[in-house]
Assembly symmetry: C2
Homo-oligomer: 177 residues x 2
DNA sequence: CAAATATAAATGAACGTTCGTTTATTTATC
DNA sequence: GATAAATAAACGAACGTTCATTTATATTTG
């Protein structure tokens, strides 16, 4: 409902009807409407983080580790477009609470980056700059892919492993000493 | 209203009251609520595009042209945080209509990229990959800056011209032959 | 083992608001 | 006196939430 019609598209009555359940039943499991959305968001984010960290070793070489994360993230987005759209919508709405970010994920990332810097695999950078170069391009490509026709009047953009590898190599080039 | 409470925070009654106007008056100038939001979005996007293209010459050297755009975009976001937040919210909502993207802007960008490729200033790339590397990091940095504390438990991230230049140099390194 | 009781889960109906939108009328401008 | 702009009031529909009640499940008792 939220993905297709925005937050306004989710009403407790419609949700109850769609779930084949009474409206009051929802309030047994969720304090109120906002709590429902927040719990759903937390749940989806946790699944995404787990998928992103699958087979990821923070001690691995930077190139290898970043590639694992890119492919994980890309695959998850492709297999769960609704989840992706929903979480992106929350992240760009006033509902988003930055203090609730998964710390397990952050720690793994910090370890990974600092190890890579120690080993001289990438140049030392503020984490935000590192993040903006290492991940923002991936997100953008995934969005282009999901939007199918990325730009009007152009052929649809299909993100495949070849394009991922090309972009990844450029990103790594930027971060290499 | 939308920035502070989401789309649900904008009601015609509350808007009329805030504007010191009757509800019916709004319907003289806007077909309905959605038309109001779409017109507001189009207006804000046009202002942003104009600000981004200020002093930008599509024929200029790639490094120079990209820097102009980055600084323009960054400054506009800083000076108009509400506009930024609002448009980002629309872009990540089902209201967003990809077919309404400003073509003037797209043409300027295409010309700029192709000239740079012709002059061998950057490697040839699909436009989407170019875009994801050339701009996504900037957006991410601006978001970090606006979010003040980028990641919990870390000092607030302040985006200044020095950090912009550093990131820009890395991005250019990635795109250079 | 069945009946009785206690506990938990689920419900339909209703609450008072607020929603987006319209219409008949008044006010301002030319 | 005509045209345009603005309004107050009202519309039914839908909203989030609650509550008294019913249904289902588990436990105890005779």
């Amino acid at each position: 409902m939220i993905v297709e019609h925005g937050f306004e598209g989710l009403s407790m009555h419609k949700l109850a009807k769609a779930a084949g359940v009474s409206v009051a039943t929802i309030y047994i499991y969720f304090r109120d409407r906002e709590d429902l959305i927040q719990q759903l968001y937390a749940e989806e984010m946790q699944k995404m983080v787990e998928a992103t960290l699958r087979d990821f070793n923070p001690e691995s070489h930077f190139d290898e580790g970043l590639k694992v994360q890119w492919l994980n993230r890309m695959n998850y987005c492709f297999e769960n477009p609704y989840s992706m759209f929903f979480t992106e919508q929350v992240k760009h709405s006033p509902l988003f609470d930055r203090s609730n970010i998964d710390t397990r994920f952050l720690h793994a990332m910090h370890l990974f980056v600092h190890r890579a810097i120690e080993r001289n695999e990438i140049i030392p950078l503020p984490v935000e700059i590192y993040w903006s170069i290492a991940f923002a391009p991936l997100y953008q490509l995934v969005k282009f892919h999901i939007a199918k026709s990325s730009m009007p009047g152009r052929p649809p953009f299909i993100l495949d492993e070849e394009k991922i590898n090309l972009t990844l190599s450029l990103v790594i080039k930027a971060l290499k000493p």
